[in-house]
Amino acid sequence: MNARSLPHFALALPLVILAALVASLSSQTAPSPALTVLAREGRRALPIALVADQEFVALDDLAAAFQLTVHEEALGAITVTYKGKTIVLTPEQALASVAGRLVSLPAPPSRSGRRWLVPVEFISRALLLVYDARLDLRKPSRLLVVGDLRVPRILVRYDSLGPAARVTIDATPRANSTVTQDGERILVKFDVDALDAQTPLLPPQTLQAAGPFVHDVRVADATSIVVEPGPRFGGFKAAVQPADATARLVIDLLGTQTDTVPTATPQPSPPSDVPPGLTPPASAIRTIAVDPGHGGEDEGVRGAQGMKEKDLALAVARRVKGVIEARLGIRVLLTRDDDRNIALDDRTALANNNKADLFISLHANASVRRSVMGATVFLAAFDETDSGAARPAPGERVPTFGGGLRDIELVPWNLAQTRHLAQSAEFAAVLEQQLRNRVPLAAHAVDRAPLRVLESANMPAVLFEMGFLSNAEQEKQLALDAFQASIAQSVYDAVVRFRDALNGGGAR
């Protein structure tokens, strides 16, 4: 479709845009349902008629918008012609013949007075096959994108983080955005042609709960979203995290009392493939070692449907690395990034030698009782005799370069974790808290056991069992993209909180 083929459309453009904006943004009026057509030439609304819960559009309207010729034959058939190609519809038949090919429709054409109505799917199933340009019908948002416009779907989420809050804006497919502060308001402008956003962006009950931090999140114009902060708003920081086809913009709203993280100067988001750096790594955590359990010939647990623990652990570890490195700028080391077995000591050694500040081993569980499910965070346990042995011998002094003596603590390698147990327990508790409303938890969500891979870790360390592959339902869950993303997000949130607690308390 080009401008010449739609002269009236182009002339009416300003009025149509205005009308569409008023229709979509005004909360005072209840707009009658309409299909918004977005094209390079502009935007127009086609009225939608609801017949038995099925959405219909008038063939006349489609004809006007897409240069179609509609003709009613003597025998009752309706022919729709576009550039010599013909679609034939038959009353009372939920079928269309498109250039000789039959396609099904959810309902037959319906007559309304003198006009013929067709199900909106006529566009995506029939018209699409004869039309010159791409037609992308997005039924949930009643949007029809014509041609190669960039119109990402927008999903907004609000999370309360106690003394702070977070607004997450997902744009799919990925789109660059710019975050600016306009007075008290935070304006997010997307580098796109339009936004596919269902209003309201946040349900009223969420907004009510978000009141202290967020007054409203709404579409400001065709390509912008505005966040209107509430009375407790004291500043914000924004970061972009590209994830597969989605660009995730995370806006952390800081409370007026919060002084642990300085307010970031609003600035454009960096290109999506570069860590944003808006949240410089705090001193307490610079490096995290993430250990995907098992690998190579050691498959770990194998589910009834064939899922292997080693593959799941690696997939989630990569997600965790991606989300933490992109959004926090913290270095994440994987003990393995392919399918091979690494000795347990070598896994810990990598963390120790790189002076990691946190060690997270990822696993999936199994039980002889198939009904057992849920996540568990383990920390190391030592017998009392071991703990005694781990106490540093008094008066260990060694000479240093340049003369003098220095006190050192000598702790056996396999008992290094004993000194970090309190902080490991702290991280385990924070992780459990983050998991609680996102994934099923086991009856004992935090447990202690003499786990080999944790004992030599010279930093806070946990072994995270994400779920039970011996449980059929959990095996399915663990395979889901969204479930793995929830786990990765939980680990990310736990790291942020743990880091902030360390920074605030200066405990290390």
């Binding site: 086991a442 004992h444 202690r448 004992e455």
Partner: protein, 191 residues
Amino acid sequence: MARRPAAIAIGVAIVAFVIGWLMRVDPPRWINRPPKPVAAAPAPAPPAPPGRKIKARLFYVSDDGTRLTGVERDIAYGEGPLEQAREIISAQIAPVSEPFVSAVPPGTTVRALFMTEGGDAYVDLSREVTASHTGGTLDEILTVYTIVNALTANLPAITSVQLLVEGKEVDTLSGHVDLRRPLSKNLSWVQ
């Protein structure tokens, strides 16, 4: 005089060979703490009357699968702690029927059981304990503490237990619980 250096050389060679031969044989580490079977008491006790039983607490996976449950059972009487330990472990790893479920994989047998004077017991299990294991951390913990607690909770003479597999020390059963040293009784894994 020319023979003397030759004799010394031969002597040194023999000593070196003997030392080398001794070093080639890699004794299991528990041999450093030589097990002294308590049964080897100076005066052998009179044989127990046939059919004599004792009460012992055995451990099975709890209904919710997350802990062990202690179950009191009649066990054949064994003369002295070592024999009694063998009876308890045999009963513990024997197949059970519903509603009980054992955390010890089916087919596992005890190859040997030793004790030191210090109260460490060494339980040498057959390869099924690893080969037939589900591989889960939780199950591994329950397997280990089934054996450890069956001995330490019933026999005061045994304070800790180390598991061996096919006569050798192992790091873990399936990659999780550290088995490189004896483990003490842990009733936090018992409901």
